[in-house]
Symmetry: C2
Subunit: 523 residues, 2 copies
């Protein structure tokens, strides 16, 4: 299809694009917001592959929310219908899927760094080729993009960064750069030549502009305005059916009765179901931009100033603030509550998004408290308890992207017996897995993963064989903590752990993935 495209004359490009878009729209049935992002750059995608000699020339897409037209054009039109489904192609760029996917992504703001790497490698290899990254105005709020611009601007390389400005990522873009539309002075201050094109959805204008900027030496930016079509209603969670909805429902009451409580989110209020809350409490739900590090240190600053900060963040993005949790919150023993959304397997977004690491890394942070509710009722109880409790460090409330019931907040207890029927074996589970699982003959749900409650050791001593179940990967975590306690107590029994394997798990429905990765006999 690329060969067909490159055989065209410029006047034919518009029809080609329209036809391509029609086919893509007909094929894609899942994740319509990403389809919208992709259609916003349909003309850009065509223009880039027309002007560049991909895959010899390098094209890096930031995040990859906008990859569908690119995928169609690079040999994967027939795969689009199965995209994000088990066995189908990924919704994001992926190196092992196509040579045209030069650099994979799923998290924001990495593309310009990757491009810097290409320039450095090419300098050593004395390789001349065209090198382009496409980054959205939302992703530009992530500080890594600044780091990359500031560094790459000094390398003397011929390189092009395209700012795809559609005024939003998943949430509308925030920040001074966006508000003041000062991309030109910003880019120039970092040593980049700057060109602006209003007609970002005009394929011939794009071809002309690309040919022009690519002919110029040094670091070039092309800032284009694009329009995202509106194919889907704003993301919302069906009332009363998910952890996300029950979190928002409870936080509405919590915010109403705690006038000092502020919730920060790195550009994910809509994704996490808090968009309606944001309308009601616009002064206290603060979208900081796509910048997890800043978000977490800002929360520390609020706490240091005597405020009451909460942070709402996805598990997979929390990985980006690991240092700030340690350095700014935990060492200083500052009270910050984290709502860790999408802790566990996330389903169709796949390996870049599975929240499978925080179960281990949070428990290793001195002074951290970690809770994982088994259903909506317990989540509600935890949120109410978190407001009431004095804290001297971070508290993490982790919940998966999953269906659950709620409406009757349970009083917070560190643990709960789900079954107690004698015998020598004990099953310990945590989070939504506790409700999803068959029950062991003795089955303890650990709502508070860490630190352990006082009598936990005494309970363990009643059993010979202890099984630990958790929806995360790694060598420590809850299982590691149980083993450490057993060793400390000189417990003579066995501990058998059931965790996700230490590998990157592909996309697929959460339950199916759990079955395929170690939990089949227990669900």
């Amino acid at each position: 299809m690329i060969a067909d495209l490159r055989a065209l004359e410029p006047p034919q490009l518009k029809d080609f694009t329209n036809s391509l878009v029609e086919q893509v729209v007909a094929a894609v049935t899942d994740k319509i917001p990403h389809l919208e992002s992709s259609l916003a750059v349909a003309e850009l995608t065509v223009a880039l592959h027309y002007v560049l000699n991909t895959p010899e020339d390098v094209l890096v897409w930031d995040v990859g929310h906008q990859a569908y037209v690119h995928k169609a054009l690079t040999g994967r039109m027939n795969e689009l219908a199965n995209m994000r489904k088990p066995g189908g192609i990924s919704g994001f760029l992926k190196r092992d899927e196509s040579p045209y996917d030069f650099f994979g992504a799923g998290h924001a703001s990495t593309s310009i760094s990757a491009l810097a790497g290409v320039c450095l490698a090419d300098q050593i290899a004395k390789k001349t080729r065209r090198r382009v990254a496409v980054i959205g105005d939302g992703s530009l709020t992530g500080g890594q993009s600044f780091e990359a611009l500031n560094h790459l601007g000094t390398l003397g390389a011929d390189v092009l960064v395209i700012i795809n400005d559609n005024e939003g990522s998943i949430d509308p873009t925030v920040g001074a750069l966006h508000n003041e539309q000062s991309y030109g002075t910003y880019m120039q201050s970092l040593g980049w030549h700057y060109t602006f094109l209003e007609q970002g959805n005009d394929v011939r204008a794009l071809v002309d502009a690309l040919q022009q900027v690519l002919a110029q030496p040094g670091p070039q930016t092309l800032h284009i305005k694009t329009k995202r079509p509106d194919l889907s209603p704003p993301k919302s969670y069906k009332p009363g059916t998910t952890f996300q909805w029950w979190a928002a429902e409870t936080m509405e009451a919590v915010l109403a009765s705690n006038a000092d409580l502020q919730i920060l989110s790195p550009a994910m209020f809509a994704g996490s179901g808090f968009a309606p809350l944001r309308e009601r409490f616009s002064d206290r739900l603060i979208d900081t931009g796509i910048n997890e590090a800043h978000t977490v240190t800002t929360a520390a600053g609020i706490a240091a100033a005597g405020g009451r900060p909460w942070v709402h963040i996805y598990s997979t993005f929390l990985q980006r603030a690991f240092d700030q949790i340690i350095h700014d919150i935990a060492i200083q023993q500052l009270p910050v509550v984290f709502l860790v959304d999408r802790a566990g397997l996330v389903g169709a977004d796949g390996p870049t998004h599975h929240g499978v690491f925080d179960g281990d890394f949070l428990m290793n942070i001195p002074g951290a408290t970690v809770w994982s509710p088994r259903n909506g009722n317990e989540l509600q109880g935890m949120l109410l308890e978190a407001v009431a409790q004095p804290l001297d460090g971070p508290l993490f409330i982790r919940y998966p992207k999953a269906r659950t019931e709620g409406g009757i907040p349970t009083d917070f207890h560190a643990y709960e017996w789900l079954q107690k029927s004698g015998g020598s074996s004990l099953w310990i589970s945590t989070g939504a897995l506790s409700d999803l699982m068959k029950k062991g003959e003795n089955h303890l749900h650990l709502a508070q993963n860490w630190p352990f409650f006082d009598d936990f050791g005494a309970i363990l001593s009643d059993f010979d064989e202890i099984h630990v179940f958790e929806e995360s990967t790694g060598l420590g975590g809850l299982a590691g903590a149980v083993k450490a306690l057993m060793a400390e107590l000189d417990h003579p029994g066995k501990c058998i752990t059931h965790k996700l394997p230490m590998e990157f798990i592909e996309h697929g429905p959460r339950l199916q993935l759990l079955r395929e990765h170690g939990f089949n006999n227990f669900l």
Copy 2:
């Protein structure tokens, strides 16, 4: 002393500052580079505490390398002589040390985020006070500072950020902002008013400028030029005595014989002993700036483009690139070698800098390989092996800030018997601890922490009691992996782990800290 200062008339400030500086210089005997950074802002420190009503007004120092005069002025003059020594005060800002230390630090680029938090808390509390952060031009290369400026610029708060421009952090500042001295347009593009003062070491000019900018509403920046006195020779490691020196020595040969190999560092070539190498291989030792996330993704980009990237980074700063290691390198199975310097207790820098987390978090990343040499000879052998081995993911070579011998590179082996004398107990240790420790009756050094070598299970099965020693904290790591393997093998014996406790460890000499935190009977 603050009260004395505030009673002065402006003409008296210069003498006051000079006298203060004299006392500080006489008192401080350790970490002279930080004394230099502090003296560069002696006038600024005096001017700030003169104009502001600290600690009611908020003053946040970025990193805290420049805190010595601030400490002297805020009641800690007599403590300076014991600073960074066991029982003495910290070399950095620390909240529990003084109410004047509003926000602690040790890592760069967090101060403006903290200030954003203060503004948000004050908005809710309807509190009016002056809020100031001081950040160096080096710290400004860290993307979190951009995230914070871009966000805080939109909050409508009265706030001041002072850019302390002395053209360097530990290494000379890099990046386009510095090269083009475009701080003014940069700050303005992010919605900040900008004022420049050349005379950053003139206390009266500073007082005037501060009073002027603090009287203006909205987000203000004051960019000042300061001069760092030259009290110490450039940092260098005594030849032949440290892991750092042997790393540089070996890499010189490796670079000479591998023309495609590039080493990236987030502004720490000097600190890690690679400054001399940088002179010889200036095109292939690339200082990216203080930006760990960008550095790691750039390495991924080099690898994707077919180059051979190595990253030289401190363990504590690697925490800032945890997500990029997962998302950009490990998922894509890209070959990147990491020299992880200061893995383990770092000594006088204390809790913000101890490299005690990477031992656990690296092993949890699917596809990661982790090596920890016991001495300089083994480190040399590992570096040579890392060049020779084909890789399909990240390889981490972790070594502490410690003395060691070298000069006779040992061939790389995944493990080594340090002692084998029969009996039923086995000690397993890794890293420099292996050489530091007494030896168990059977003592295995694990050079390759992860993945385990093939026969490791068979070795374990010969023993009843297995002790694991590692200089890191957390619930997983090497100890967690040994326990997991024992469980998999249905090993009937006991595993006893010896790790650092799960708490933040204060500063002090490394050996003393190891003795005080669990290893006393083994050293």
